[in-house]
């Protein structure tokens, strides 16, 4: 960076300091500048670091609270905290899970960054604070200024509901909202940047300090990797093997990706973000249907590229959102589509079983490339729970991916990322990946026992857990609940689990193969059957993990857990719920559901 370009926005210095520095160095030669740089470096080394941290007259602190399930909200919170810190604001970045509620009444400036899941549910780590703010114990917050940023997905009914809840509850307690809540859809990057700019500008006036310091709390985990969502690693696909048998209804892949020499690493519980390309055949069909040309140039991220390339690499074509239906309807003058948007329930049902291409196939119309791109959402990478442990596989990362393939409206449909990984990529091809850390899904210490509930591809992180526990020679016991359709064809990683069992790593396994008998049996049924032992394990300090389908399975399993704890812990329903909430607070009940 050249000094001439230095501004207070991109450095820890105030405007005044920047001006002084610029004046002092304006006429120096290269040799003189070099000498001065050495002088300043020496000064920096000999000075007392703690003096910098304890900046003079630290006025009010900005608390950035985040509630994150998959790590997105956490990543955003971290980014906002860093930007605020760069402005000389004293920032405390804290996960809602770690936040002491009694500190709330002393806060003066608060940013809430929270995601919403499933049917308007708060992420696990936000649950307790979310409930606390609605409870009678919540304090009056007349002196608090706050703003809320929500992350969500417009294809769900209760879009950004948790963010709305926080805003309402904080306002109800007397706190003052200083910036309108912003709700961000799955392609949230540009919205976040805009909101971040606005809020920091507002806060700058009251909170900015002349001397910036490394005041961000220890809550920010510094990642050593240079790779991120925006700057993914180009990794090599080593293998994509079907691991369901011939008779299986589902094609589930075990995928191995090389991270060799990248320095990219991960922990059990983390997810791998995968950027994917859309199916070129699908893209060509779409372009043809709307009367455009594949080669015509469009502007994406300030670059001129072909329309086909834009659709392959930059836009979401499988997951349908209401905005597309309405916008496409308007652009092609199809009032039936526009009207769908007037009834949310009708729209939800409409988009539930359709992809973008279905809307276009069933409602032919022409529009300009600009209109098309405006209607579509930007492509977002898919996150897959990592199925391996570095301690076992070294510089590789493994995934367990269910290939989404189904027929609808007499046409074959595919999931975008899963078909990319299983069909369009060949072994040896490169793909763009990054690690999404998930501190809400972590193994306990080696001496503690774990209960893992992971039907279907929910097995993935538990393969990682078992590999890790194996390599750690962990003394804690490991108990797995797994389920799928058929024993003979859908027992994912069967031989590996047999090996873990043989070697004493997997101490217990309970299996539920739903279609192997007349009545369907699921993991929650096994949990009820094994309720007594399970409760005893929990009493003895075991941690509980659920991974897999969040719509139905996680709820049914939760209900089964409540019932087991009621029955075997001799508790009321309320007490059993409370027991699980306490486990969550203690980070002993963690979920990775999707």
């Amino acid at each position: 960076m050249l000094l001439q370009q230095l501004s207070s926005l991109s450095s820890p210095l105030s405007d005044q300091q920047v001006t002084s520095l610029q004046q002092a160095t304006a006429n120096m030669s290269a040799v003189e500048l070099s000498w001065v740089s050495g002088y300043l470096a020496g000064l920096a080394q000999s000075s007392d670091q703690s003096a910098i941290v304890a900046a003079p007259v630290p006025s009010a602190t900005l608390t950035v609270l985040y509630g994150s399930q998959t790590g997105n909200a956490k990543g955003v919170a971290k980014q906002v905290a860093e930007a605020a810190t760069a402005q000389g604001i004293n920032v405390s970045l804290v996960s809602m899970a770690d936040y002491k509620t009694k500190a709330l009444k002393d806060e003066t400036h608060l940013l809430v960054i929270v995601s919403t899941h499933g049917e308007g549910e708060a992420p696990d780590d936000a649950e307790q604070l979310h409930q606390f703010l609605a409870s009678k114990r919540a304090p009056k917050l007349a002196g608090l200024e706050f703003a809320v940023l929500g992350l969500g997905d417009t294809s769900y009914e209760f879009y950004c509901q948790t963010a709305i809840d926080f805003e309402l509850r904080l306002s109800a307690l007397g706190a003052k909202s200083i910036l309108d809540r912003r709700d961000c859809d799955v392609d949230y990057d540009s919205d976040v940047l805009a909101w971040q700019g606005q809020i920091i500008e507002l806060l700058n006036e009251t909170l900015s300090q002349p001397v910036a310091a490394t005041a961000v709390s220890a809550g920010v985990a510094t990642t050593t990797s240079q790779y991120s969502k925006q700057n993914p690693l180009s990794a090599t696909l080593l293998a994509s093997n079907k691991i369901t048998g011939r008779g299986a209804n589902k094609d589930v892949r075990h995928i191995e990706i090389s991270l060799e020499d990248s320095g990219l690493s991960y922990q059990p519980g983390d997810a791998l973000g995968v950027w994917f390309d859309n199916d070129p055949i699908l893209v060509n069909e779409l372009i043809e249907l709307v009367g455009l040309q594949a080669e015509q140039l469009v502007n994406v991220n300030d670059q001129e590229i072909s329309l086909a390339q834009a659709l392959i690499q930059h836009y979401e074509l499988t997951q349908l959102h209401p905005g597309f239906v309405s916008t496409y309807g308007e652009a092609t003058a199809q009032s039936n589509l526009v009207e769908l948007g007037t009834d949310k329930a009708v729209m939800r049902e409409y988009i539930a079983n359709r992809q973008v291409i279905d809307v276009i196939r069933q409602n032919r119309g022409s529009l300009s490339s600009e209109q098309l791109l405006a209607a579509l959402r930007k492509l977002t990478p898919r996150l897959y729970s990592i199925a391996s442990s570095v301690s076992e596989v070294d510089e590789e990362v493994h995934l367990t991916v269910a290939v989404v393939e189904y027929d609808a409206f007499d046409k074959a449909h595919q999931g975008a990322a899963s078909s990319y990984l299983s069909h369009r990529l060949a072994e040896g091809d490169t793909l763009r990946v990054f690690v999404e850390h998930n501190d809400n899904f972590r193994l306990p210490s080696a001496d503690k026992s774990v209960i893992m509930i992971g039907p279907g591809t929910g097995i993935a992180p538990f393969r990682s857990f078992l590999q890790q526990r194996d390599n750690d020679d962990a003394s804690g016991q490991n108990w797995l609940f797994f389920g799928n359709q058929h024993f003979t064809d859908d027992f994912l990683y069967q031989t590996e689990l047999q090996d873990f069992q043989k070697r004493g790593v997997l101490n217990r396994i309970d299996l539920a193969f739903s279609r192997d008998q007349a009545h369907k049996v699921y993991v929650q049924d096994r949990i009820k059957e094994q309720g007594k032992d399970l409760y005893q394990w929990l009493e003895d300090g075991a941690s509980l993990y659920i991974c897999g389908d969040g719509n139905q399975m996680a709820k049914d399993v939760h209900q089964a857990l409540v019932e087991a704890i009621e029955l075997h812990g001799n508790k009321t329903n309320e007490q059993a719920q409370q027991y699980l909430t306490q486990l969550k607070t203690d980070k002993r009940y963690q979920k990775d559901v999707y």
């Binding site: 093997n241 011939r246 024993f487 003979t488 069967q494 031989t495 396994i509 299996l511």
Partner: protein, 562 residues
Amino acid sequence: MTDVKLAANEYIKADSNLLRGTIEEGLQNHITGALYDDDTQLSKFHGFYQQDDRDLRGERKAQKLEPLHSFMLRARVPGGVCTSQQWLDIDKIASSLTMNQSIRLTTRQTFQYHGILKRNLKPLIQALDLSSLDSIAACGDVNRNVMCNPNPVESSLHQETYEWSKQLSEQLLPRTNAYAEIWLDGEKVRGHEEEPMYGKTYLPRKFKIAVAVPPHNDVDVYTNCLGFIAISENGKLIGFNVTVGGGMGATHGDKSTYPRLADDLGFIKLADTIAVAREVITTQRDWGNRVDRKLARIKYTVQKHGIEKFRDEVAKRSGVTIEPPRTIKFTTRGDRFGWVKGTDNKWHLTLYIECGRIKDVPGKEVQTCFREIAKVHQGDFRMTSNQNMIVANVAEADKAAIEGIARKYGVLGERLTPLREHSIACVSLPTCALGMAEAERYFPEFTDKVDSLLTKHGISDQPIVMRMTGCPNGCARPYAAEIGLVGKGPGRYNLYLGAAFDGTRLSKMVRENINEAEIMDELDGRFERFALNRQTQENFGDFLVRTQEVKAVLSSARDFHD
């Protein structure tokens, strides 16, 4: 004795608490479709083998799935007789509790199911029990299913011998309560339990009994460990010629092993039947080889001690006077296809079943056929030792209806060549763990090719006994066939020739490890010479021996391998 290391199975049996082992625990281990290793030896005594689909082994390994384990269960059906209701039950079990959904008739007059998943074993055995069927001792080192000539033309004589075969089967069953406890939720035995005849280590090896009614040798009586040949006077059964020491199994490349035809023990009176059978078994129990399982069958025991010494021992143990054998004459080992009328005026329809496989294929809905027949049939069914089925005891009035069903589903009406009528094959790939080459899946096509050669030489009406097995254990009794094929490797077989048509002389290996083209080449020249030079009524095996194309096997211990 204590210093000698016995065969591994001897310790498994000894430690099994009379065949219980840890089978029950294994059924509860849901992470695998297999039983514990040692229990897979014990399960045979309960009637089933653990197998896996060998076609899928490699593929499933890559899928991180264990081999597709399943079980083959063989029922105990003395003489191969079952009722219509039983057949309907057998058929329903196949459809509901097995992966293959088909039924396989065996060379020992029973049926077996393939592709039973572990979780379905208990329901399946319970369903058989409800139908008064069981699989006790259908496999294992015990007396197995007792065969008996099933074609009841000489009705009263047959009925008597059949009753004896049933009695033999019942009397020689193991007495352990293990089967009832494990499969039928029977009450557990407390305290000491005895296995009076077998003892806790049972026999050194499997044991097979057949009862023949001359002149029909369809049960291939001389290939059995113990044989009973019915002797009658004026149409009334008076006793049996007893034979001991037959058996088929051999090991490729091991000349200490060989197939063997039984020796004559002698004639016994009817009343002495069970006593003699018991003491043949106890003699084998005590004299048989328990160190080397390959040499453990009674044929080696008889060969080692000589038939005289063996006869003396049985006579001594049983207190029975064993007389010299009566003269008997066998004429054929084939089944009598089509309708035959018995002396009691009941009709019997023998239907050809390719390789004994009861399943529906387009144009030939064998499984549906027997289901429909069973729904209306007032008599019974009889499985033959040639893997065919007899619809037996049909009243004159019902004949047309039964025949109509058989024709409708394509099971009757096709012209069969005499070669096909006299041919059998074992199961082999993909389910049998021992199979080295195809048998059942390849045999029909192979038979067509041999038939074409016979046609080429104008001898297509010549009955020839031809049998194929995927391994040298010889379930389809290939060494006793005029053309015997024993699997050596994929697409490769050892060729055996020269056996007697009536089953009284074994074949000899003429070429080792040859492919189809080479087999056809070997047969082509011999068929040509047979067509030109055969004598009246001369059979193919006899011709080859007479013209010295093949050296006769007279005493297999000495001359089978030379």
